[in-house]
């Protein structure tokens, strides 16, 4: 069984890779490379895979999940300029992919235990662009 909890945060960022030329940055990021930054209302969906506890009937108490998401992600990301205020985005481009992976790394130690595991992290940068991250496993052909 997979259960999902949704939270929102708002943050600003610049998508600009220091190793790329100005032209390459434009080709990859377009106006998102504007050095002054811009922001999004991000939506985060965190999915856990597991079986309901035979006594409580729950995979994980959603109140507890909500507290973990607030403590490990929202309190750090919400109303921040990611490049300047949230490591590792002082060295990594805060693309939706890198944000999803960073959130996975922050959450995974708190959510995977016993028969329960973090299944996926979905980050919506806008309603029209979202990324699912399934952990470090290599891509199958």
């Amino acid at each position: 069984m997979i259960i999902t909890r949704k939270v929102e945060f708002s943050a600003s960022h610049v998508c600009r890779a220091p190793g790329l030329s100005e032209e390459e940055n434009q080709r990859w990021f377009g106006t998102a490379a504007n050095p002054h930054g811009h922001g999004h209302n991000y939506v985060l969906e965190v999915s856990l895979e597991g079986q309901p506890d035979p006594v409580t009937g729950m995979v994980l108490d959603l109140k507890e999940l909500k507290e973990i998401l607030n403590r490990e992600v929202v309190s750090l990301y919400d109303h921040r300029f990611l490049n300047y205020e949230v490591p590792p985005f002082d060295r990594e481009v805060p693309t939706t992919e890198n944000i999803a992976r960073d959130i996975w790394r922050r959450l995974e130690p708190h959510l995977t235990s016993g028969g329960r595991r973090l299944h996926s992290v979905r980050v919506y940068e806008t309603p029209d662009l979202f990324v699912d991250y399934f952990g470090e496993q290599p891509c199958s052909a």
Binding site: R27, F29, E92, T95, T96, E97, N98, D132, Y133, P138
Partner: protein, 145 residues
């Protein structure tokens, strides 16, 4: 592994009518969708690519390339068109149901994918098309020969 999904919108008209069937059978099977003058939908299309993130850019797919591919292969031929009379794929016996429209979109994207994404990654994973908010169709790229 990442899956990057981009959402697009387009409006088009169609009529559901299978030429091998009688008028009566067509009316019975398709109901209002068989109206001879056709009708339209606001389609919502999701295109998903999967792959690893590029070390330098932090991107698993260049969404600008995806946008250009979808503009060329999907929006140009289908947006604000009559699918029955203007789309070659539906000129014959193929009925422009959303199943068949989704298959045609997936086929068109898969056929041109390597022009937009010449490397091993990202791969086209699936398309998902909503004809209305209540009717949704998903086709994996692996289902397309």
């Amino acid at each position: 592994m990442f899956r990057v999904t981009r959402r697009y919108r387009f409006a088009a008209s169609h009529r559901l009518h299978a030429p091998p069937l009688s008028e009566e059978e067509n009316r019975r099977i398709y109901g209002k969708c068989n109206n001879p003058f056709g009708h339209g939908h606001n389609y919502v299309l999701e295109v998903s690519a999967r792959g690893p993130a590029d070390e330098r850019t932090g991107c698993a797919a260049n969404t600008r390339e995806m946008d250009e591919l979808v503009a060329r292969e999907v929006l140009a031929p289908f947006a604000n068109r009559n699918l029955n009379t203007e789309a070659a794929a539906f000129a014959g016996a193929v009925v422009p149901t959303s199943e068949n429209l989704g298959i045609e979109i997936c086929r068109r994207l898969k056929a041109r994918w390597h022009e937009a994404f010449p490397g091993n990654w990202p791969k086209l994973e699936k398309v998902r098309i909503a004809e209305t908010a209540r009717n949704i169709f998903e086709i994996g790229a692996d289902e397309i020969a």
